[in-house]
Symmetry: C2
C-alpha cells in the first residue's frame, strides 16, 4: 500500500513539474512577445497557457482520487492539499503571462511598451522567467533553503512594479492613455506572476519544515 502511495505521490510531483515547465514557457514567450512585439510568440504563449487549464484540472482529479483511495493523514495529506494549491497558482501564472501576451497581440503591429519603459519591462520579464524556472527546480528538489531564497527574489519585481508607476506619474511621461493603460496592467500581471511564485515557495518551505502537530491529525 505504502509503495503504491509513494508512486502516486511521485506522479503528482511529475505532473506539477510539467505544469511549472509550461508556466515558464508561457512566461518566456509572453515577456519576449511583449517587449519585441512578436505576434507569433504571443500566439504561442496564449496557446500554451490555454492548454495548462486542462492539465491542472487533470492533476486535481488525480489528487482527489488519491485522497479517496489512500486516505492519507498528517504530512502525506498536507502534501496532497498543497499540490492542489500549487496547481492553482501555476495555472494562474500561465493565465497572467497569457494576458501579457494578449496585450502584445492586441497592439501589434504597434509596440506595447514605450521606449521609456522598455528596459524596466525587459528586466521584470527576465525576472519572472527566472522565477518560473526556479519553481521548476524547487518542485524537483523540494529544498527548504532554496524555497526561502526564491521568496526573497520577488522584491526586485515589486520595486520595478512601483517604478513603472513612478515613470507613468512623472512629469516626463508624455505617452497617451493607451500606453498608460497597457503598462499599468502589464506591470500588475508581472507582479502577480511573481507573487504566485512566492506563494508556491512558501508552501514548499512549509511542507519541508512545518510543524504538523501530527498526533492531532492522525488521532
Amino acid at each position: 500500500m505504502r509503495e503504491i502511495f509513494q508512486s502516486q505521490l511521485h506522479e503528482v510531483q511529475t505532473r506539477l513539474i510539467e505544469i511549472a515547465e509550461d508556466a515558464a514557457r508561457v512566461a518566456e514567450k509572453a515577456t519576449k512577445a511583449f517587449t519585441t512585439s512578436d505576434v507569433t510568440l504571443a500566439d504561442e504563449a496564449i496557446a500554451v497557457a490555454d492548454a495548462m487549464t486542462n492539465k491542472a484540472l487533470a492533476l486535481d482529479e488525480l489528487v482527489i482520487k488519491i485522497l479517496a483511495k489512500q486516505s492519507p493523514v498528517a504530512r502525506d495529506l498536507r502534501i496532497l492539499v498543497s499540490a492542489l494549491r500549487i496547481s492553482a497558482s501555476l495555472e494562474r501564472m500561465g493565465a497572467l503571462a497569457g494576458h501579457i501576451a494578449a496585450i502584445a497581440r492586441y497592439r501589434f503591429p504597434g509596440a506595447a511598451v514605450p521606449e521609456a519603459l522598455k528596459a524596466t519591462f525587459e528586466e521584470m520579464g527576465a525576472l519572472d522567467v527566472k522565477l518560473a524556472h526556479q519553481v521548476v527546480e524547487l518542485l524537483k528538489n523540494t529544498d527548504a533553503d532554496f524555497a526561502r531564497q526564491i521568496q526573497a527574489e520577488d522584491e526586485r519585481v515589486d520595486e520595478l512594479h512601483r517604478s513603472v508607476f513612478d515613470t507613468v506619474l512623472g512629469d516626463s511621461w508624455k505617452e497617451n492613455a493607451m500606453f498608460t493603460v497597457d503598462v499599468t496592467l502589464a506591470s500588475r500581471y508581472h507582479e502577480r506572476f511573481a507573487d504566485h511564485v512566492v506563494d508556491i515557495s512558501s508552501k514548499v518551505s512549509y511542507l519541508t519544515t512545518g510543524d504538523w502537530s501530527d498526533e492531532d491529525l492522525t488521532a
Copy 2:
C-alpha cells in the same frame, strides 16, 4: 461517525458563510469609499479584509483535520476539496476589494474617480456587492439553479470593465495619468472580484449536479 461528520461539514459551511459575509462587507465599504472618497470606510474595509486571511487559514486547517480524521470519499471528499477552493476565492475577493479601498485611501482627500466614470464605478461597485451577497445566499442554500443564475450575472461587470477602457482611450478623456492608472487598476479589481464569484458558483453548481463517477472514487 456519520453524525460527527455531518456536524463537521455543517461547521465548514457555517465558517464559509461567515467569510463570505466578510467579503460582502469589504465590498460594501470599499466600493463606497472608492466613489465617495470616504477614508474612514476605506480603513474599515482594509481592516476587515486583513482579518479574513486568518479566518480562511483557520478554515483550511479545519478542512485538513476533517480529511485526516474522517477519510471521506466521493461526494463528501469533493465538498471538502471545494471548500478549500471557495475559501481561497473568498480571501482573494477580500484582498481585491481591499485594493479598491487602498486606492481611495491613497488619493484622499482627492477623488479616486473622475466625474466621467463615477456612474460606471457606482454601477460596477453595486454589482460586486450584490454578487457577494448572492454568494452568501448560495453558500446557505446550495441551490444549483441559483448558482447558474449568478454565473450569468458577471456579464454586466465585464461590460462595464470594457467600457472603462473605452472611456479612457476615447478622445474626450482629458484626465492625467494618475487617474488613468487608478481607474485601470480599480476596474480590473472589480472585474476579478466578480470572476471569483463565478468560480465559486461553478463549484457549488458542480457539487450539486456533477457526475462523480462514485464507483471509481470509492473503489
